[in-house]
Each structure stands twice: as C-alpha cells, then as structure tokens.
C-alpha cells in the first residue's frame, strides 16, 4: 500500500506535465497560435546579421510569408483605393458631362 502511495508521488509530476502537453499534433496548437512579430526585425542591428546563419535564415523564412501577405494586403488596399478614385473620377466626369450637355441645350 505504501509502495503504491510512493509511486503516486513519483507519477504525479510526470502526469501533470503529460496532461499539460496532450496536444502532440501541431495542428492542435493552431487555435492559440501567435503570429511572428516580424516588425521586430526592423529594430534589430542589421550590421550584426549574418545571412548565412541558420537562425537568420529561419527568421527570414518565417517572416517572408508575413511580409508577402502585408505587401499583398497593401497592394490590394491601394488597388481598391485607386479603383474607387477612378470610379469617383468617372462619376465626376459623368457629372460634368450632363452639365456640358445641359449647357449646350
């Protein structure tokens, strides 16, 4: 009986750790996934960065996607804005045309 109690003492910390890490599949961690803070790379000392260093290469790989997404996002936003402006311009043109037309009348 005492032996059994002793084994509980030994097993408990291991069990707690095991339970806290049940999600072995990386997909299980996706729910609470944090995005990489790639903006922090701008503040790093670039003179000390060695592009051959695997740590640096890994960071670049990690941030590449994020940066591309940002760029795409900004392009899309710019494109939308341009399109909207263009539309506005057309509207203005359209507004002017009737005016001219009215003037002619």
């Amino acid at each position: 009986m005492k032996r059994q109690s002793l084994s509980y003492f030994v097993a408990l910390p291991a069990l707690l750790l095991a339970l806290s890490a049940q999600a072995h599949d990386p997909k299980e961690h996706m729910k609470e996934a944090q995005a990489p803070d790639c903006a922090a790379m701008k503040d790093m000392d670039h003179s000390k960065m060695d592009m051959k260093d695997p740590v640096m290469q890994a960071m670049m790989k990690k941030c590449m996607k994020a940066m591309h997404k940002d760029e795409e996002g900004s392009h899309e936003a710019h494109g939308d804005k341009g399109h909207t402006d263009h539309g506005n311009h057309d509207e203005k043109s359209d507004e002017k045309k009737p005016a001219k037309h009215q003037h002619k009348k």
Binding site: Q34, P36, K61
Partner: protein, 194 residues
Amino acid sequence: MTSFKFLSCFKCLAVAAGVAAVTGVGFLYSGLYPMGADDHHNDLTYWALETLRERSIARASNDIEVPTDLNSSERLLAGGADYNDMCTGCHLKPGKTESDFTLGLYPAPPNLTLTGDRHGHKHAGDTDNDDEAIKRQFWIIKHGIKASGMPAWGPGHDDQRIWNMVAFLQRLPELSPQQYQILTARGADDAGHH
C-alpha cells in the same frame, strides 16, 4: 586453520550484509525519509542519484547517430515551435527566469536558455564532446527521466521531430526574446513543418 579463518570471515560478512539489508528495508518501511520536493536530498543521496542518472544516460545514448543537417533553418523552425509548446513551462524561454515548475520541481529542471556551464548542471554544453551532449539531449527528450518530472516524448513524437527540438536547443542560449518569438510562433497557416 586457514579455511576456518576464511569461513569465520565469510560468516562475519554474511551477518554484516544481512544486518545492512534488514536495516535498509526497515528504513524503507519506516517512512522516515522525507519525500517532499521542497525537502532536498542530502549531498550523498544527491550525488548517488545524479551519478546513477548520468552514467545510465551516457551508456544508453552512446550508440545514437547524430544527423548531419542538425544546423538547418528548417529544423530550427520546426523544433522551435515544438519547444515553445511543450518545454517552456519547465525549461523557460529568453527573457524568463523562473516559473512555477522551476520553483517547485526537485531536482529543478535546467534553464535551457543558458549554456550548460551556466545553468548549474554538469552536462550539455560544458562537455568537450558536443556530440555527447547532443546525443544526451536526444535520449532524454525521447525517453524522459524517471521520478524527475521529465516525460518521455518518444511515444508521441517520431525521431525526426525530436531531432528538430535538439537542433533548436543548440541555438536557444544565444537567441534574444525577439528572435525567439519569431522562430517559435506558429502562424495561422503554419502547419508545424512536419
């Protein structure tokens, strides 16, 4: 005459061994030994257990073959994310110096953000043979350590995934908190590099 002396000596040894065994078993059942993690072992017990652990791991990990591409960025990314998910509670991350586990577990888990000679454990990072330390880390992650709180990750993780974590551990002590965050973050579309 000589054989009589030998027999007498043998009897003495047998009696001494019997007394020692009975005393030992009596001590085990007495419940006198403090089992609380906050009541540390005496130096002799600690030395005996540590020696037992280190010799056992050194022997068991001796034949492990270390992959040649351990210092690759892909391994760092995959291992970093897993380390962040599974190990930081006990082994910490850059910018963090303690947790409930580091305060409460005994023996205290090593702070792996420090090199071996700085985190107070006589092993990985302070050995002349880096391969030995790397093999040791792989073996410990895969098999765990009895009665220490270190689980065996082998049953749920294949060898490549464990090697990725070992790869990340080699660079962890030199990472800043910002570098660590970038390397270990699982982005929304990051499938874990497996």
